[in-house]
Assembly symmetry: C2
Homo-oligomer: 397 residues x 2
Amino acid sequence: MNFENLLAPRTGNIKASAIRELLSVAKRPGMISLGGGYPAPESFPVDILNELTAKVLDKYGSKALQYDATEGFMPLREALTIYLQKKNIRVSAENILITSGSQGFLDAIGKVLISKGDRVAVEAPTYLGALQAFNAYEAEYIRMDTDGKGLIPESLEETLQSGNIKFIYLVPTFQNPTGKTIPMERREKIAEIIRTHDALLVEDDPYGDLRFRGTPVPPIKTLAPENVIYTSTLSKVFAPGLRIGFFIAPEDIVKWMVRVKQGVDLHTSTFNQALAAEYLSAGYLDKQMPKIINIYQPRQKVMLHALDKYFPDSFNWSKPDGGMFIWAEGPEGVDMEDIFFKAVERNVVYVPGKFFFTKKGEGIETLRLNYSNADEEKIEKAIKILSEVIKGEIRRS
Amino acid sequence: MNFENLLAPRTGNIKASAIRELLSVAKRPGMISLGGGYPAPESFPVDILNELTAKVLDKYGSKALQYDATEGFMPLREALTIYLQKKNIRVSAENILITSGSQGFLDAIGKVLISKGDRVAVEAPTYLGALQAFNAYEAEYIRMDTDGKGLIPESLEETLQSGNIKFIYLVPTFQNPTGKTIPMERREKIAEIIRTHDALLVEDDPYGDLRFRGTPVPPIKTLAPENVIYTSTLSKVFAPGLRIGFFIAPEDIVKWMVRVKQGVDLHTSTFNQALAAEYLSAGYLDKQMPKIINIYQPRQKVMLHALDKYFPDSFNWSKPDGGMFIWAEGPEGVDMEDIFFKAVERNVVYVPGKFFFTKKGEGIETLRLNYSNADEEKIEKAIKILSEVIKGEIRRS
């Protein structure tokens, strides 16, 4: 039986993740991965999960195993109000909706808003998971310029003036892939621009808590509350395997998000939501956060130091105050996808930067380096090897 | 800011679940619900969850909390091969894919296959959750006739002859909403018909294990393996709050399902999949199943007995060998949605049957009765009250 002819036309547009294919080699023994965006397994609170489970069963009993509201498990939504207050976001539990990871949010907002050909404005480069979610609804992308401080407000202004933008998608803090954070002054400009244009911004903030130094910058949500859907996840501060994301949106969008989510997965795992509720409300997160930072900060330090020591002078890279990624840019003519395959031969993987751009031909000379999933020794070694490979290729060309 | 004008045209088609709105009254104190399809909380293995958690953390450590493959957690897929062998389905672990509940499967297959106006053939009446998933992709429905033995094969044949059916959706065993099971002879005919027409059948089997008496009937998947996508869930034999579903499909469909699922939720909760793997492979399910049956069987018995004792003679109802539902049909002219509101006044809820039909005007005189979520005493009482309400209404008209 031939099923290919049964596929919906949209399905053919859903490409296999190129990164996923590339990184399949990362599992080979001996490979050092600076590729995927996996949190350090050592950062997970494995040792307290038995305790959390016991508390959840004691407190909620069979309710933690039963079907629950599509909107989310109320004790978690209540715990998140406190968590969000620390980011200056003041909302009631009813306004916080739970999703199956941020990916669950990205899919739902795509389903609610995007029709074939609708234009979504994104940073160049931008987060791939968002593109993957929106591609399924046949979005088109308008790329906006960025520099060392992230999105350039003038580029946003121009984009909105060109008209017909369904919504803007940004990761303003410790962005994936660049690690860059949009500073307060720009956030205020961005907030003003979207208010003036009555535009809708999706602010994705998975990394905000992973700050190693400097002062936290408030979410754009706090500056233009009515124009921003704020979304985040517990994947980086609890455990990604639990698949807990959440969002805050204007009421008339929430209504549709709930209907859509009901058709997609009924609701997010009650048990995991109950574990997360307990993790947040009983103070486990507050104890865990310094431990997580203490794992990532030295890894980033070693990577930055190794880049300084080994990388070719013709390369520049970001020096983020937190998050999981460093972004590097080589001189024109260097093809970081070509070099990827040479690096694999020497047991080092990273992600060629071109995959984070929506416009073909952009980002050929760029790369994303992840430091959350390898220890300091391996990071130092991998950067040294990668530098040798790059230098060898530059010499040859 | 007005967001309604940003909605994708498809979104307006996604109706709020009428049942959900109706059943919102079920939460009022004193209400007896024969409405929703919730498993009995007493059927959940709450007492073993601490043990399961400890075993999972011991066996898999941080791996149980990390991101995992979109296809599913391998130990669960391996455990499911054994589980499925008992249903005569012989597949390797690689061919079993995990979803976030069966709803996650229904959404993904809709996304992969359905474009606006595509025709999906369904039983009349059929499962609402499937319609809700498919509605988001703007499916149209072709209703097929059923009788006391479920789908009438001749109706399937006619439907396929009419052409242009994307796929057929069936719940062949202890169907929701009717509780009916398609007997072996009909399954063989159905298998032959779909093979002849080279048609694709989605066989949804969430209730197959809840058999109180009689011999299990093999899934249609075993009779036409290449034409059937088989899907099921652990919601009724473990816990719905963990959101674990699974499916087996031809390889060229699996490829697209995985890509689609990646954009929707990356993967299903690793931790919950690990719990399920342990629940299945360490023999907990085998011990739990008789307990579950011992809760439902007497409830169904009491309901059937109460229907015999109290219900008007002009009503007929199904006597299923298992599952969670009884389907009742009144004489023409009785409006079970009208009667619903009178029953609510007397603290009893059920689901008016019309909501399970895709064609307007069908099923006005029908109702679905759930017996899994109230104890025997309440079921007896509720059926008695409901009978009085119905008799009162019939007398008045």
